[in-house]
Amino acid sequence: MQIDVNEYKHENEYKELIENYAGKPESLLAIMQDIQKQYNYLPRLAISLISRHVGIPVSRVYAMASFYKAFSLTPKGRFVFRVCDGTACHIKNSETLLDQLQKSLGIKPGETTTDGMYSVETVNCLGACALAPVMVVNGKVYGKVSPGDLEGIIKEYGGQNHGYDNQGS
């Protein structure tokens, strides 16, 4: 497995988080959640350290990470824009929100801006259909979002349209 040299800088941090749990298979999910929470994704080095610690092959740890939406295998931005694309939100034009985000940030769902600031994702029904279309940014919920609101919301997270156009395309 090819591991980015940068990840080795964090090796001891990963290990510290991992060793909070007993080295047995039952610890797997909890460790993965802690790492995801701390780094917003599961670095390759962490996956291989987890595999060794709990005694589960790398393939199975990766399978687990790829199965659950709560885990990410690629680095996420500091701010993650989760746009609901459930039925209610879809009908209320969640897609135009995604289009607008792509215009403002230059990224499609699943992507991250090159400066590591923003990610855009789609999620299935967030359970707040009355507020459709719904968007969540790092845990903060925005309801009845219109494309025009997005600029203001991005600003809240530091983005002042500093040249995100045409990025990541």
């Binding site: 497995m1 090819q2 390759r44 996956i47 092959p57 790398v58 393939s59 199975r60 740890v61 990766y62 399978a63 790829s66 199965f67 295998l73």
Partner: protein, 245 residues
């Protein structure tokens, strides 16, 4: 324990699966995900039969490979209902493995309608899971089923050459639809995006395994005779035994 199998009284062992009983009695049942070494998985649903256990009013559909017989029952392996179910299953499996001759044959046999093919990765994979078992049995688990829903597929982590893979090809050999591609040329074997050096048998010269597999087996067992292919190993063993007696 008495089982009425297609109208004939048969004797089954408690805990035996319907499929095992049928195999013993030479009653053919189509299967994909079953393998003697691992037993039934119930993944492909190709082996559906009708069962009515003692005391039940109606026959139920069940996967023969996972249904364990624990009391007297009646089993029917061919009926219109089963025919229909298998037709649907063949239709769906063939969609994923349109290029596989066995599925083509089955599709003809069951008059399964043609659906637009889906190109799977690896091609022709029906997700039976046998390769995962084979690799696990080797003690390697280099591959697993990744992602979910329509994206689900068998792969190595990150689709890269896996540190765990020893290129033994157990996965490719067990695959019922030959979906796992393996290329062998110039004394190299390429499988799962990893290239391995093939080693020739010391006696007959046939390239029989990868260097990694041989090393691995050596450290795992007392793999006595060095660098001999299976048939030469058996021959040497026979000679040793003969000299001994």
């Amino acid at each position: 324990m008495k089982i009425k199998l297609n109208g004939k009284e048969r004797e089954a062992m408690p805990g035996e699966s319907i499929l095992e009983l049928c195999k013993r009695e030479n009653v053919p049942i189509p299967t994909f995900c079953y393998h003697q070494a691992f037993g039934g998985q119930g993944a492909c649903r190709m082996c559906m039969v009708e069962v009515r256990e003692e005391g039940q009013k109606e026959a139920r559909l069940a996967a023969a490979c996972t249904y364990l017989l624990n009391r007297e029952a009646e089993v029917i392996t061919e009926s219109d209902r089963i025919q229909r179910i298998r037709r649907t299953i063949v239709m769906l499996l063939k969609r994923r493995a349109a290029g596989d001759p066995i599925l083509k044959e089955l599709a003809d046999a069951y008059a399964a309608p043609d659906l637009e093919a889906v190109v799977t990765e690896p091609e022709n994979c029906i997700l039976c899971g046998l390769c995962i078992h084979a690799c696990e049995e080797m003690g390697k688990s280099a591959i697993w089923s990744m992602f979910r829903g329509i994206d689900k597929r068998i792969a190595t982590p990150y689709d890269e050459a896996s540190d765990d893979c020893i290129g033994c090809a157990a996965c490719a050999r067990i695959c019922p639809t030959h979906a796992i591609s393996m290329e062998e040329k110039d004394s190299k074997r390429i499988i799962w995006n990893k290239s391995f050096e093939l080693v020739a048998c010391r006696r007959c010269g046939k390239e029989y395994a990868t260097r990694e597999e041989i090393e691995y087996l050596k450290e795992r067992s007392d793999y006595g005779q060095e660098n001999l292919c299976e048939s030469c190993r058996k021959k040497t063993l026979a000679i040793t035994v003969k000299n001994y007696i």
